[in-house]
Symmetry: C2
Subunit: 171 residues, 2 copies
DNA sequence: GTCTATATAATGATAGAC
DNA sequence: GTCTATCATTATATAGAC
């Protein structure tokens, strides 16, 4: 899926990777959609744990930024977003998972902003979160496509801002 | 492509939409990749013109924001991004087109920031551009997936900022 | 430019033996 | 749980007549 796109994921190829017959894929998952859902769920759980650990660290913003700019995550997200675009069950699962992650992130970010003396009126935490993760996701996606203009400057800018905020929160 | 994803675009289905035989699709484009490239190029040219008009208007930032948050564009971008992920020719074409758009946007944004009295040191134009378009793209994409938390607040926040900047530029 | 015909390969999925 | 066998369907693409 990551290397050749979701459309290249067939029962035959999956079976080949595992040195099994294609029929076994259908035995375990029946349809290919069931397989995609299983992959999504496993990955989502892993991702939730990873974000949980990152946000519980002593520099949660920095960890959040680094996790969200990971290009491997970007490819995965893009493939599933494309898949979700025309498969209802997958779309619902992604949305539910995304909202869970966002709530976690929001709690952590609100604490940091509060600690740095930034009020709701200055910038609501939900806006700061959307900004930070949106920028991170697009940078990661663009990197995988070979679009690089402005990335270094943006990374530097955001990372300086993040460090300022977290130093403020520590003080 | 927009309704069912790029993987559902076959010579049979395309021909069916046009009430033609599938072989004619191959007559005009030979391979399906040629067809995807033709679609990409046409759409890219249209998009360049649209951005050109938007950025030449009297409120270029507002126009840029509205164009980039258009959900139709998000689906298109996502499908091609997924396609590009494992087809070299398409990836190169997307990257080249994206860099052209970015240069156009950057010129317009730099003028607005300059007019509003915001220096390179405060915020480099390329960073502001990445932030604004990144946030816009992710909001548009999430909307199509049914993820909506924080969108209203973020839209309001960005739009107020944009209006402040453009009022400052006008003054 | 459009047709018929066809080559070739891959697909998802099931039935039934062991 | 794994196998053999198989079905119906779809896919991309080409050849050659008109």
């Amino acid at each position: 899926m990551l290397e050749r796109g979701y459309a290249a994921v067939s029962s035959r190829r999956v079976a080949g990777e595992a040195d099994l017959k294609p029929q076994l894929v259908h035995y375990y998952f029946r349809t290919m959609d069931d397989l995609f859902l299983a992959v999504l769920r496993r990955r989502a759980e892993e991702s939730l744990e990873r974000y949980g650990r990152a946000l519980a660290s002593d520099r949660p913003l920095r960890a959040l930024w680094e996790l969200t700019t990971d290009p491997r995550g970007a490819v995965f997200t893009m493939e599933f977003a494309a898949l979700a675009n025309h498969r209802k069950a997958i779309r619902a699962e992604i949305a539910a998972y995304a909202e869970r992650v966002r709530r976690m992130q929001l709690d952590a970010l609100a604490r940091v902003l509060d600690g740095a003396g930034i009020s709701e009126d200055d910038c609501p935490p939900v806006v700061a979160l959307q900004a930070m993760t949106g920028i991170a996701q697009v940078i990661a996606l663009e990197d995988t496509l070979g679009i690089t203009t402005g990335h270094d400057e943006t990374r530097a800018f955001v990372e300086r801002l993040v460090d300022q905020l977290e130093d403020g929160a520590a003080a």
